[in-house]
């Protein structure tokens, strides 16, 4: 038996304990799962505002005279389209076979400076890969920072109540833009819930005060469980569940991020991606009976078999939903069935997202 690895703690660990969080191990970190009811936390984000500790994710600063050229080779989306400083872009990073190594957000900070946010489980592997394949750029992981996500229709007002001094700089932010504030604070108008909101990186020592002030200002503390139901309703993939190295962006509902516009840009995985037949796609699934779909459950469609990559009960819609990898010919609104504990239950294929800005997408 191998000894259990020591789980890392975020700068907010004590704050979570003080609020009675149920903690769970996630990607080597001790993270809050919920603070009592994950469904109530979910509704808080859809209806008002919620705050998440996402400090397990890894911010990375990219610098060096050729960082742009390096990132244009490393990422399937093209950082050259970031022409206004502060603009962010979502991208996949591929291996030579076109399989997904990670999905990430990159922000151009001006000049040759970029800020990346990587998934926690893949961060170390990503860093090794980027350093090997783009040696002309410098990659500095910022484990000195804490990361908070403040999400929901009332997120902006909540932030300004808690930090009035930040209002001017953050009020001006359009979606998918970020601003550097005084004191090493970095605020971006991004998220992983399908709602408006901010993601905030700040020095670890200042995180507990901001966390408590945001809750005091009306944000509900939310755990990873609500984060998962929110992102699933929003049709946003979770790396490791809905995508991995054996899957291309086209098979993970993120083909729209692959930028082939510049024929001279030979990003890693491009050749393989362009030569590979597209046999599978990721679509939504609504289960029409009373059971929650779980990853790896089998799905039957008129075009052949597929499988659930992640599933849950949608608190907003009140029905079970899933993301499923299905044959390329499958289409939204078609009937399907899903195997749950030995029984085939009725389901319907759905387009993504299920929910956007608090409302059902039909």
């Amino acid at each position: 038996m191998t000894p259990e690895p020591v789980l890392r703690k975020t700068p907010l660990f004590e704050a979570h304990r003080a609020r009675g969080a149920r903690m769970t191990a996630f990607a080597g970190w001790q993270m809050p799962l919920h603070y009592g009811s994950q469904i109530e936390e979910h509704h808080a984000v859809r209806r008002a505002a919620g705050v998440f500790d996402v400090s397990h994710m890894c911010a990375v600063d990219v610098t060096g005279a050729a960082s742009r050229a390096g990132l244009r080779r490393l990422f399937a989306n093209d950082v050259a389209k970031l022409v206004i400083a502060g603009k962010s872009l979502y991208s996949c990073m591929l291996n030579d076979e076109g399989g997904m190594l990670d999905d990430l957000v990159a922000t151009w900070l001006g000049g040759e400076r970029y800020r990346l946010v990587l998934n926690s489980a893949t961060a170390e592997r990503d860093l090794a890969w980027m350093r090997e394949r783009a040696p002309e750029a410098r990659f500095e992981p910022r484990r000195d920072l804490a990361l908070l996500a403040l999400q929901g229709p009332a997120a902006r007002e909540t932030l300004w109540r808690a930090r009035p001094a930040w209002r001017a700089a953050t009020e001006a932010l359009s979606r998918f833009f970020a601003a550097e504030l005084d004191g090493g604070v970095f605020v971006s108008r991004t998220g992983y819930t399908g709602e408006d909101g901010f993601e905030i990186a700040l020095p670890a020592a200042e995180a507990p005060a901001l966390w408590n002030d945001l809750i005091e200002a009306g944000a509900a503390p939310c755990g990873l469980a609500a984060r998962d139901t929110l992102r699933l309703e929003a049709g946003l993939i979770l790396y490791g569940e809905d995508a991995d190295e054996r899957v291309t962006p086209y098979e993970a509902a993120v083909g729209w991020t692959v930028d082939l516009a510049d024929p001279a840009r030979d990003f890693i995985g491009r050749a393989a991606l362009e030569g590979r037949p597209r046999t599978r796609q990721l679509l939504g699934l609504r289960v029409l009976e009373r059971a929650v779909p779980r990853s790896h459950m089998k799905v039957r469609t008129a075009h052949g078999q597929g499988e659930v990559t992640s599933g849950t009960f949608s608190p907003t819609l009140g029905v079970p939903i899933a993301l499923a990898r299905l044959p390329a010919a499958a289409a939204p609104r078609e009937e399907a069935s899903i195997e749950v504990r030995g029984k085939w239950l009725a389901a319907r294929i759905a387009r993504l997202p299920f929910v956007r800005f608090g409302k059902e997408v039909t």
């Binding site: 799962l33 919920h34 009811s37 009960f313």
Partner: protein
Amino acid sequence: MNVPENLRYTATHEWVREEGDMLVVGITDPAQEMLGDLVFVGDVQVGRRVGAGEVAAVVESVKAAADVYAPTAGEIVAFNEELGSKPELINRGPYEAWIFKLKPAQPPQGLLDAAAYRAAVEAKKEAP
């Protein structure tokens, strides 16, 4: 951990209360706590005969599905229909929100009292 003295328990986290010649069965507070928010309660077939330890109901949370076992052999005589539309009642009050009633064919064997069940839950928490 809320484990009332006046009930009896199984090692699989059911609580059992005698009501006339019937056994009323639900899941315990530690069980609902482990499962988190419940979204479905069902698969109870009134009139079905079950053996001791056989699956009599299924509860499902956002996180996981769990079987609920018959504490002894007998006939399922009632299902708490209210849970069909309000599974969250189990989270709010696990000892009020009974799931099914069983007419036992024989008295249940080996049920735990509150202290023994509490000890069993603690032992499981400490196990690696």
